[in-house]
Symmetry: C2
Subunit: 247 residues, 2 copies
């Protein structure tokens, strides 16, 4: 029976992958990928056996149960299975669920942490998630998660924390989430940044306030994937940004 | 005038540094380090010029202002200055403050994100910060920050969020912080993990509940640095941990 590595590939820049992840990609007998950005895919040797979950499933994505089963199956066939994920496996990456299934089947696994997009994508646009005197906490949530009733967030607490809020996978529910934050008393002039397709050639920053970001994002036709940052650290960007071509 | 790279070296495992950080270490004309774990230091070529801030300042650590000045000075002397930090520069790493000073002096800089200890150290002891049905938010704070009145945290909100709470640099204030959480109504049986010296040969996990963790940490003589995780995800560890020598 083989070993499964649940590996974070970082925020999309192939140079922001860890030395360990890169070594495992080279050593793997098989690599399971889905929705990796092109840059990260270029790190995979051309003769490597790669299973692209998106392609297997066609238009319909393979369910999480299907992925879990596939990992267990692959561990029976191969010595070294690498499940390559965007960002970090344990920051809303379903790494815990996959690990639990592997453990339940007696399959050896190891989690290799990655640089989460929640931190690196804002950094690439001069937004630090913490800044002395401005933010003393960082909270990361996901836009997807909120649709499930049993995991409903305490918006009141989120607002009262007055720290930096990062929403991953939050484009689809942006209007709903902004409404919740405003409804629970977050300042309408709280700065918001939406960063689309971080670390790709199409990376783009759209900024506004809690009051107008829904309209701005609509006008700018913002699409997933994006990292959303809400809080006064977004304003620090004006202080830090350099005059470069990109930004 | 040179360029300053504010580089995250990750959680301490030399293999969890990014390809970019590793490249910059090799390309640097000078590297500024402080409190890096030994493993990461071994990545630095022996003939490289290294300034160890701890050693300059002797027993008294160089102040943040002193470090900022030094970075500006070095940028005038060298083409490529690497400021190597533990974890990620923007997760309570003072990267924002250093970037702001560099910008104010017209010095070109770039932040290279790293894997934060907040995520990777718990992962190394089978604790996922998020888990479906158990935690729908992750909040990272620091134990140090809280001593400053102007950045006082809203403990009530932290408790009511009912997500995963990670405290960095929190050993010194553990008793005070636990008292605040209990005082604001967090369940006394909330699981707590304190992970000391993550990714070193002395890495150690101590677990308990909010009720007893202060005594447990005292009995076990827990010392900084440590990552503290508070929340039900700590209990997931029992489901995920493998039978290995280490844990």
């Amino acid at each position: 029976m083989g070993k499964v590595y649940l590996v974070g590939s970082g925020p999309g820049d192939p140079e922001l992958i860890s030395l360990k992840a890169y070594r495992l990609i080279k050593e793997a007998d098989v690599i399971l990928v889905d929705n990796l950005v092109l840059g990260v895919k270029t790190l995979i040797p051309v003769d490597k056996e790669v299973i692209d979950i998106g392609k297997i499933a066609g238009k319909h994505k393979l369910s999480q149960d299907g992925i879990n089963e596939l990992l267990v199956e692959l561990s029976a066939k191969y010595d070294t299975v690498v499940r390559l994920k965007g960002g970090d496996p344990y920051i809303f990456g379903r790494g815990g669920e996959e690990a639990a299934v592997l453990k339940a089947h007696g399959v050896e696994f190891e989690v290799v942490s990655g640089i989460t997009s929640a931190v690196a994508v804002p950094a690439s646009f001069y937004i630090p998630l913490t800044f002395r005197g401005i933010s003393s906490s960082v909270t990361i949530i996901t836009g997807h998660e909120m649709e499930e009733k049993d995991e409903s967030l305490n918006w009141d607490a989120l607002v009262n924390l007055k720290g930096t809020l990062v929403i991953l996978m939050g484009v689809g529910n942006l209007a709903k989430n902004v409404e919740s934050l405003l409804g629970h008393g977050m300042r309408a002039d709280t700065p918001v940044a939406v960063i689309e397709k971080g670390f790709t050639v199409d990376a783009r920053l759209v900024t506004g306030t809690l009051q107008n970001i829904v309209d701005v994002a609509k006008d700018e036709n913002v699409k997933p994937p994006a990292v959303i940052v809400i809080g006064d650290v977004v304003g620090v960007r004006e202080q830090l940004k350099l005059l470069t071509n990109r930004v």
